[in-house]
Amino acid sequence: MERNIAYVALFAALIVVLGLLPKFNLLSGVPITAQSLGVMLCGVVLGAKRGALAVLLFLLLVAIGLPFLAGGRGGIGVFATPSVGFLIGWPVAAFVTGLIMQRSAPASILWRALVASVIGGIVVLYAFGIPGMALMLEKDLITAAGFAMPFVPGDIIKAVAAGAIAQGLYGMRPRALISVKG
């Protein structure tokens, strides 16, 4: 129990720290940010349930007014911006990423984490993020999907990073990946 709480809190803090890296503002008002790498890592390292809880904890801290989104933003206001779909999608993305990590065949850790991050942290996440932008900017889904295109290269790099980090952790200490042991 305490161990789970500590891990969940640690990974929420990891997303906070990744928010200290610079972000890039885009036309859509949704920035390119390193924090979604944190979301992928939550799933990859902690697995589905704990990973999703870590992201939820992070969002809770943001919602009560801590300036933890990239660029020092926070408060309930952020849920009224075009980012809202992505923000709601984050815990789901972590969950799916973790689920794939736990269930995937014993291939190499690098590939499992990479595939899990692409499916959870990109495909599933965009399924929330694009409608969110469409809604907030009153655009159709196609236009909103267009707004999401600039994220793709960065998000693929993040998925590769998540894979490499998972591989590195596993290589140095196999039990560090709680998701793999189940």
Partner: protein, 205 residues
């Protein structure tokens, strides 16, 4: 820990957090179907005045939050002008800014402790279906605690690297830092448990 709440107490700080949040919810539902730029413009003006009533430091803090959005707003308007839908564009932009500013107003005028108390109240009903409210509040505290720890830990390993290398460390330290952080979480969970930790079932006594 740094929060977005204003340090100074204003009139709005005395309004209970629940009332402010309820007001926010109601207004967002009311404004959502509105398309008339005049009404929306009026709403935005009202929210700006509301923020203004908190003083200049509140205005400055709000601007920091809004400026990145203004960049997007400008481009969005341009986009609509090109497609000949200026009226729609104006309505979208006004509604967005109104909602963001209003939510920001609530956050600024509610102390962190009040928000945390509210979170506990909001979670209380879920206790019956097994949500561990104590776990939520302890986890919030821990996450805030871990943030500087992560930075310090990283700093220490970067120092260890610099003490033996001229080349920048870059990604090579990511995994060692990760392991150090996991060890730290492990130790904290022991410390939690040694002092009662977080009961996994609800306490009866």
């Amino acid at each position: 820990m740094l929060s977005l709440a204003l340090p100074r107490v204003s009139w709005a700080h005395r309004v209970p957090a629940t009332a402010k949040l309820a007001g926010l919810l109601v207004l967002s539902l009311v404004l959502f179907p509105v398309k008339d730029p005049i009404i929306l413009g009026g709403a935005l003006a009202a929210v700006v005045m509301l923020t203004g009533s908190l003083g200049t430091s509140a205005m400055r803090q709000t601007m920091r939050f809004v400026v990145p959005l203004l960049f997007m707003v400008g481009l969005l308007l341009l986009f609509h002008i090109v497609f000949g839908q200026l009226r729609d564009g104006i309505a979208i932009v006004l509604r967005l800014l109104t909602m963001v500013l209003l939510a920001n107003f609530v956050t600024m005028t509610t102390a962190l402790s009040e928000m945390m108390a509210l979170v506990e109240k909001l979670f209380a009903p879920f206790a019956k279906i097994g949500v561990n409210v104590r776990a939520v509040s302890v986890a919030m505290g821990l996450a805030i605690r871990f943030t500087p720890v992560l930075l310090t830990k990283s700093g220490l390993l970067f120092d260890a690297w610099r003490a033996r290398s001229q080349k920048p460390a870059r990604w090579r330290l990511v995994v060692p830092i990760g392991l150090a952080a996991l060890d730290d979480a492990e130790q904290i969970s022991d410390a939690l448990r040694a002092r009662g930790g977080v009961p996994s079932t609800r306490r009866s006594g």
